[in-house]
């Protein structure tokens, strides 16, 4: 069966520090991969998605970047965090044809102080 792992669960980082959030998927190959951000009590904002190794599509211009160095690994990064980067970050994967929807990771709560 397929599983998705996202870590860390909680992170507190100072302004100006770097960020690296990692997401890995097991039990499938060539998945679509996604990074979402969610403000408290709000909806889901798609940040990046990837349909293959090295292929990254950015939805919102911002202080963040994403990379897919391996087929089942998706990394969200920042060189210098801003206070506005605080939020709940969710990684998700889907099959290429989207027929089974997304499976989400358990999320990372990021607080920039």
């Amino acid at each position: 069966s397929q599983t998705i792992h996202q870590w860390p669960a909680t992170l507190v980082q100072p302004v100006g520090s770097p960020l690296s959030l990692e997401c890995t998927v097991e039990g499938t190959s060539n998945p679509n991969l996604y990074w979402y951000r969610q403000a408290a009590g709000r909806g889901l904002q798609l940040l990046f998605y990837s349909v293959g190794i090295g292929q990254i599509s950015s939805e919102v211009p911002q202080n963040l970047s994403a990379s897919r160095p391996q087929d089942r690994q998706f990394i969200l990064s920042s060189k210098k965090l801003l206070l506005s980067d605080s939020g709940f970050y969710l990684c998700a994967w889907s099959q290429t044809d989207l027929r089974d929807g997304y499976t989400f990771g358990s999320g990372t709560r990021l607080t920039v102080v």
Partner: protein
């Protein structure tokens, strides 16, 4: 552009009663998928129910069912015999190109 609209930011239901959450969408695709996701206070996103657009029969999963009206582009979720554990944020989603489009969510409160 594809859009998904959830017009009810918040709903309340008495325990054991039935509640319907509304969702409308707009897509130019002829074949697509629709989902409802639940996000409890833990914030884990949980798939509730799935509907394939080419199937006319409404999907059901235990106490959860949908009313899929393709011509009206409507996809509402009905929760029967509501339980305290149903209290959560509910998101409607429609498949697009390479990704899903989500609505803004409906917060469901279940009153004891």
């Amino acid at each position: 552009a594809q859009t998904v609209t959830q017009s009810q930011p918040e709903m309340s239901v008495q325990e054991a009663e039935t509640v319907t959450l509304s969702c409308t969408y707009d897509t130019s695709e002829s074949d697509y998928y629709l989902f409802w996701y639940k996000q409890p206070p833990s914030r884990q996103m949980i798939l509730v129910i799935r509907q394939e657009a080419y199937k006319q029969q409404n999907a059901t999963e235990n106490r959860f069912s949908v009313n899929f009206q393709k011509a009206a582009k409507s996809f509402s979720l009905k929760i029967s015999d509501s339980q305290l554990g149903d209290a959560a944020m509910y998101f409607c989603a429609c498949s697009g190109t390479y990704k899903y489009i989500f609505g803004t969510g409906t917060r469901l409160k279940v009153l004891a």
